[in-house]
Every structure is written in structure tokens, then in C-alpha cells.
Amino acid sequence: MNAPLYEVGAFGDTASLGFALVLGIAFGWFLERGGMGNANKLAGQFYLTDLAVFKVMFSAIVTTLLGVFWLSELGWLDLPLVFVPPTFAIPQLLGGVVFGLGFVMGGLCPGTSCVSASTGKTDGLMVMAGMLFGVFAFNEMFPLVERIYRSTPMGSITLPELLDIPFGVAVFVVVAVALAGFRAAEWFEARA
């Protein structure tokens, strides 16, 4: 297997930064194409008027998930060499709730706030400024939250491992749920 390329030594650190830029440009391009730079559109998710956020996010997840499964299955991607973000159940649950609140309030997430700002929207800029402040506040308050932050570590565990089901079964279930979700999203939008 000769991928991930960086992990098998295909190129060095400087080139990897070049890739960071290129991948970022492509990411930002598609975010804007999908309308994700528009706070009104993003907020519509939570009022069931415009479910583009769900469609974009889960189309992406399904695409990558299927790609990862099949590239690994065909022996073209060495899956163990791909870094899986470690699980910390409680802080990720709490952090998710806090993040969701901030998201519906601000109308943009960290990535899309950059897209919004770069396309000329001042509110995007303000979300970015708020993000910097929020990160700063967290760092300064760290001793208070440290206990929770470090709690419930579970390592780089994935759903198939947790539920003791084959990877392929998990893929099927996730895709099926996503497709059903898309169906429901179309229905909600038709009603709005």
C-alpha cells in the first residue's frame, strides 16, 4: 500500500504545508458553492426551512466513508496509518452542546465563518473574532475545566469496534440513515 503518501514518506514537511493550502482552497471552494458562506442559509437548518447544512455535511461524510472503505478494501489506502481523532465522551458531548448553541446563535461555524468573511460579510468576520475570544477564554479558564476536559478517554475507538460489528455493516447503516435523512430533508423543505 502506498497511501497515506505522507505517512509512507512520499514527501516532506514543506510539501505537506503546500498540500494543506491546496486542500484548504478546494474545501473553501466547495463550501461556498454549497452556500455554506451564508449565515441565513446555515441557520435555516434549525428552523427546518433550509436543510443545506445537513445535506452538505452528510453527503461529504457518506462520500468519504465509502471512499475510505473501498480504498482500504482494494488495498490502496493503509487504514491503520490514518489518524482517528481520539474519543473523550463527556467533553465531546458537552462541547457539542455548547458548540450547537453557538452555531445557531452565530449562524456560522469556524470553517464557514472564514468563507463568509472572505466573501465580504462582516458578520463572518465577527464570528471569527468571537471564536478567537472563546478559545482565549477557554485557555485562561483551563484549570477550571481541565478535569472535565480530560475525563472519559476511550482512545481512537470507532463505532464498528464499539458495537462489535463489521466495518461494512456500519458503512451500510450510516449510508442508509443518511439517504433516509435526505428524503426527510426534501420533505421538510417542501413544507417550509
Binding site: 472503505f69 478494501e73 496509518l81 482517528v84 458503512v171 451500510f172
Partner: protein
């Protein structure tokens, strides 16, 4: 629904259905990782029930390796299979804990996967075994502001450390652990936080 969406949905559905009936590919993740402290505990309590396989290079192995570790350089894939066979013939049962020792630039997960597929039920790996062993067993440290729970956990760790010839230390307030913390974190950070 517009036809482009139908095509996408159908493609996704087809690929997902094929995934369902495809063979049992190992999922992403790191539940196979094991820490130095756990390895040390097993080495002490059940030395014959644990096999340590070091897949780093020759000089790395010669410089320092874990107690009772056997060497099998990664480049020599055939050797790995031979080891598996020899291990079985020599009495290593599938119930034994097999630990793959990796290091910087060496990925312990591939042999881990190979052994798992070969039928060993309890295989684990250590990403950077030497650093982990040095930090947890040879020179474990506890900060001066640790609470009771941390202290009693450290006492157990210190006892194991001494058994393997380590030098556990509880830092005094004067020895600010600032620099130490930053160094370790910088290493962790370099491994790539995808967020």
C-alpha cells in the same frame, strides 16, 4: 428528485450494499493500543503469558528494548510470519497477550493487523514504546500539586517502576514542571491533531 441526485443516491446505495457483503475489513481506530504501564504489570504478574515483538530497526533495538522483547525488523515480512509460526510451535497460545513494539517512523499497526488476521485474539501495539517506557517506568514523575487519588495511583506505578529498575520521583514545588510539560505536549501535537 432531479436525476443528478438520483444517480448519486443510487451510487451510494450500491457501494454501501456491496460494503455490507464485502469481507470483514478492519475498521479505522486505535483500540488495540496498550500503554507501558499495562505491559509492565503483565510482565511482572504473568511473564509467560505475554510475548513482546519489537519491529523497530536493528540499532534501535540494540540501543534499548523492553524486557523480554524479541526482535523482528519490519522490513523482513517473512520473518514476521516465521515468528508467528515459531511462536505457535513454541507454545504461545492464541490466548497470550502479544504486544507489538513500534517507535518513531515505524508503524506498529501493520504487524498488529497482520497478527490479528492470523487469528491471535489478544494483540496490542505501542506506537512509541521506548518513550512510553522511559516516561512511565524508568522515570515516572508526579507533580507537587497532585491529589490523593493521583498519589495512590502513582504509588502503584512507582512500585512497578522500581521493580524494573526505574527511578520514580515526586517533584517538589521548587522543581516547576513547566518545561517538561511543554516538551511532551509538543511531541503529542506533532503527531497531528486533525482539528
Amino acid at each position: 428528485m432531479p436525476s443528478a441526485n438520483r444517480v448519486l443516491a443510487a451510487t451510494a446505495g450500491l457501494l454501501a450494499t456491496l460494503a455490507l457483503i464485502a469481507g470483514d475489513t478492519l475498521a479505522p481506530g486505535g483500540a488495540g493500543e496498550i500503554g507501558a504501564l499495562d505491559v509492565a504489570r503483565r510482565l511482572r504478574s504473568d511473564p509467560d503469558g505475554i510475548r513482546i515483538l519489537d519491529v523497530r530497526g536493528d540499532s534501535a533495538f540494540a540501543d534499548f528494548h523492553l524486557p523480554r522483547a524479541r526482535h523482528a525488523a519490519l522490513a523482513d515480512a517473512a520473518h514476521l510470519e516465521a515468528w508467528v509460526a515459531a511462536a505457535r510451535a513454541g507454545g504461545a497460545s492464541e490466548g497470550d497477550l502479544v504486544v507489538i513494539v513500534g517507535g518513531p517512523g515505524i508503524d506498529a499497526r501493520r504487524p498488529w493487523l497482520a497478527l490479528k488476521k492470523a487469528g491471535f485474539s489478544d494483540v496490542r501495539y505501542m506506537r512509541d514504546a521506548v518513550t512510553d517506557w522511559l516516561e512511565s517506568i524508568i522515570s515516572p514523575i508526579l507533580g507537587p500539586d497532585a491529589d490523593d487519588e493521583e498519589r495512590s495511583a502513582f504509588e502503584e506505578q512507582a512500585e512497578i517502576a522500581r521493580y524494573f529498575g526505574g527511578f520514580p520521583r515526586i517533584l517538589t514545588a521548587a522543581e516547576a514542571p513547566g518545561g517538561d510539560v511543554s516538551e511532551r505536549l509538543r511531541k503529542a501535537r506533532r503527531r497531528g491533531c486533525a482539528f
